[in-house]
Structures are given as C-alpha cells and as structure tokens.
Symmetry: C2
Subunit: 119 residues, 2 copies
C-alpha cells in the first residue's frame, strides 16, 4: 500500500500506445499511457473503458461522431462501441478498465500489447 | 457517452464527506468528494478503494502508519484495511470503487451516505 505520484510515473516511460500498469483494485487496472498520432479502430466486447486526459488533448472518433477531450476531462467508452483514439500532439492519459482488457480490443496487429509493464 | 470535465463537476457541490457519482463502468463508480477535518475509522470488507487527490492534501491514518497525499497522487486501500481520512484543509478527491461501496464501510453513523447523488 503505497502512494503513487502520477507525474513521477509519467516520467518513467516515453513510448506511445503502450499502457503501463500503476495500480490494481477490484479486478480493474489503473494504467498510464502516452498517445501520439492515430491508433486503430477497435472495440472491447466485454469491457467499458475510461480515458482521463492528464496532459495534452485527445480526440476519439466513433462511427457516428467524434469527441475532443482536454486536460482534466474523461470519457467512458462502453463495451462494444467502436472507437479510434487520435492525438494530434502527444497526450498523456490515465485508463481505468478490467484486468483482461487488451489495448486493441478485437483487433490484433503490431500495436497490440499483450503483456503490460508494471511501473 | 459524454465528456466529463472534473473541474466543472467539482464546482457543482460544496458539502464535505458526501461523494457524488460522475461515472460508472464495469460495476465500478467514479466519484468526486470534498473532505475537510476528520472522517471516521472504518473499513470496507469487500471493496478496494482508490483515493486520487485532485486539489489540496489528504492524510490517511492506518492502524500502523499514516500517509500524506498531495495533488496528483493516489493510494489504493485494500479491502479489510481500517483507515481514517483526514483533511487539515479542504481537499478534493476522485474515488474509484465498486458500485455497492458505502462511504463509512462497516460503520453506520451520521456521516453514512446510503444514497449518492449523480451529478
């Protein structure tokens, strides 16, 4: 049981689209990630996913609309909803989602991260 | 599915020790709360609880130690661990915890909030 400092954790990595685990509770993981450029269209069949913007701006495209999130804003993407995160400039986000969530959901490609680092 | 701005939500209430629900995913709730002065010693038998400090400082006493959290820091208190939050000055926190979590855990007193507002 220890105090986690978000900024200290953000300084420990620089790669994009590779979430790092910083906490676990009730079968859910708290993750940090850095995004830049475009991710892949995907959905999570069984997991809702929370994106909370810590730094920068995040755009998320859905099939019927797109939303923009600034620092201090979050969105919950329900299970089954296709989405595509886009960061025009680098952004840092906190993710909150079930332990089994894979970053690319139903898609498997070079961006897929099966094993996440704990930092 | 909407964008939630944390600061806008914090401006919607002022009472202490009365968490407000701002999101739900995977059976978990995202809550905001403002703390001032001392809470009650309690534990949650079945729920781990995350405290993330958004503004101010939070102290949490445990039976064998105490920790201080500054803005941008969080701690996960595992189920079954007795704790007592204390805010010398007002602080604002984000909480992640299962839907059924009651703020005073195993204790029922005037601080207990059975029905939480969604804001």
């Amino acid at each position: 049981m220890k105090v986690i400092n978000i900024n200290q954790k953000l300084n420990l990595f620089s790669e994009y689209w590779n979430p790092k685990v910083i906490g676990e509770l009730n079968g859910q993981l708290v993750k940090l990630a850095k995004f830049k450029d475009e991710f892949v269209w995907h959905k999570h069949d069984n997991e809702d996913e929370l994106f909370y913007v810590l730094e920068g701006k995040l755009k998320i495209e859905f099939r019927d609309k797109e939303v923009s999130l600034n620092q201090g804003e979050f969105i919950i993407v329900p299970k089954g909803v296709e989405h595509k995160p886009i960061a025009i400039e680098e952004c840092s986000v906190m993710l909150f989602e079930p332990k089994d969530t894979v970053n690319t959901g139903n898609v498997k490609n070079k961006l897929t991260q099966q094993e996440l680092d704990n930092i």
